[in-house]
Amino acid sequence: MYAQMVESGQAGTSDQDKAFQDKIDRNVRIEPRDWMPEGYRKTLIRQISQHAHSEIVGQLPEGNWITRAPSLQRKAILLAKVQDEAGHGLYLYCAAETLGVSRDELTEQLLSGKAKYSSIFNYPTLTWADVGMIGWLVDGAAIMNQVPLQRCSYGPYSRAMIRVCKEESFHQRQGFDIVRALVEGTEDQKAMAQDALNRWWWPAIMMFGPPDADSTHSEQSMKWGIKLNSNDELRQKFVDQTVPQAEWLGLTLPDPDLKWNEDRQSYDFGTPDWDEFFNVIKGNGICNRERLDARNKAWDDGAWFREGLMAHAEKTTKQNIAAE
């Protein structure tokens, strides 16, 4: 999810390629030192790093509210949650590193704007209710995509996903719990929740990526077992799961076309504004520049810290060698 629209590489036609595909078809996990087609390696690096970057940039919109959380309990929960996102980014960078790329290289790609991250994080968090919506909807959508990825063909990625999913199960619940407290609260709080839902619903729907019909580069990734469901499949699942929850909360989803389809045993829903989606991806969201600026600042301001620690480690290594 955090890794939608990853451009897929090409499969080869050699015997090695065929044996590789056969392994994947037999559900044998690919491990770092195994032979793999260059296209598979490159696609995975792009996908895993985009996923990692999304976790890291994803700290920012919610991180905004750690200092303003309205109770001590909420402050602790939110800090723990945003900290988890940093952890997830870390696990994913480590998984990408097994493919022969360093974390610094990946960071450089993010900071220069060359690498993508999920465009959902380019929307602003304007009220406390937004923090609830991110947990409930954005993490809810992310989980929907990450659960199948636990079975993806690349061992380190699949293991990272297992750890992430285990930890993330509390994220969606804490978001729902924030929203629940709001709708059970004052009129102002209820209005705050509805307003936030109005702003986050469509971006959440678009997190699954463009419709399958327009999605050009999924096929090879699906064959390789690194994308397991189509965008539309996951989107439908998300809508079907979320609509009853919104009803339970007494909130209205901002989609006049939303209605239960008895034949399909699923909800029909309207078409998102894809122009807006691509516009945000192109860098024209409200917070694109702020997000990258914040990451660049953290990295640049931290250079002396990293250098200082390395300098000390080198000094002590030299002293230890001299002492021996």
Binding site: I56, Q59, T67, R68, Q189, G302, G308, L309, A311
Partner: protein
């Protein structure tokens, strides 16, 4: 307010305000590993805040959240040290270390408190703080004795923050009453532990604590200007919606 309530508020306010400053780093630290470690400390501190405020909730007739979000800056009794801003990561680390160097012997002493609730609270917190100082001390030494730039930044942070340690170690009549009751440790052993800890560490870190004026005031509600901004941010949501539950 009773001496006991004053003391508990000072402890809780220290934990909250430092936790607030620590939380500001989430998503902005120099490396991911550090981001995660800092958040762990912040979580411990917020947890400690809830415990200290819980101790005096009945006497003051205010919930822990009311104490955090509905008092003004003159009513907060935290030390000046913890409200100092995150000028850079060196300031954040040094502030944490100086606080830990006092916090550990203080809590260690409180584990022998005649008040069983205080002793139990200290018993739980002291484990957390032992880890905090292990980590902060280690980084002070590494960065003090690291590159020329890391040394200079750590020294600058020490120069800025050291004067506030007077506020950290200060005592008044309320404290004296509690010492006499065996509720809190006397000033001398805490001061000695602090002096020994910091002298040893700064020697290893090739850093020098400055002479000169010492600053006090936070413990009596006389804060720096940073405090008002910190509270304005922290309290904005509950204050905009009085009576709301979150």
């Amino acid at each position: 307010m009773s001496p006991f309530a004053t003391f508990c508020l000072r402890m809780g306010d220290n934990a909250l305000i430092l936790g607030q400053r620590t939380g500001e780093w989430c998503g902005h630290a120099p490396v991911l590993e550090e981001d995660i470690a800092f958040a762990n400390m912040g979580l411990d501190l917020i947890g400690q805040t809830q415990l200290w405020y819980g101790m005096v909730s009945d006497e003051l007739g205010k919930s822990p959240d009311d104490l955090a979000f509905f008092r003004g800056e003159r009513e907060f009794l935290n030390t000046l040290l913890v409200e100092q801003p995150n000028t850079d990561f060196a300031h954040a680390l040094m502030r944490q270390y100086l606080f830990d160097a006092w916090h550990l012997p203080m809590l260690d002493g409180l584990t022998g408190s005649t008040n069983a609730d205080v002793a139990a609270l200290a018993e739980k917190s002291v484990k957390e703080v032992r880890y905090h100082i292990d980590r902060s001390r280690d980084l002070i030494v590494r960065l003090g004795d690291g590159s020329p730039e890391s040394h200079d930044r750590m020294q600058a942070a020490l120069d800025w923050l050291w004067p506030f340690t007077a506020d950290l170690l200060a005592r008044d009549a309320a404290d004296d009453t509690l010492v006499a009751e065996g509720m809190i440790p006397a000033a001398a052993p805490v001061q000695q532990a602090f002096d020994w800890e910091t002298a040893e560490t700064f020697a290893r870190a090739t850093l020098t604590a400055p002479d000169g004026p010492r600053r006090t005031g936070g413990r009596t509600g006389n804060h720096s200007e940073h405090m008002g901004y910190l509270l304005a941010v922290m309290q904005s949501v509950p204050r905009a919606h009085p009576g709301a539950h979150w």
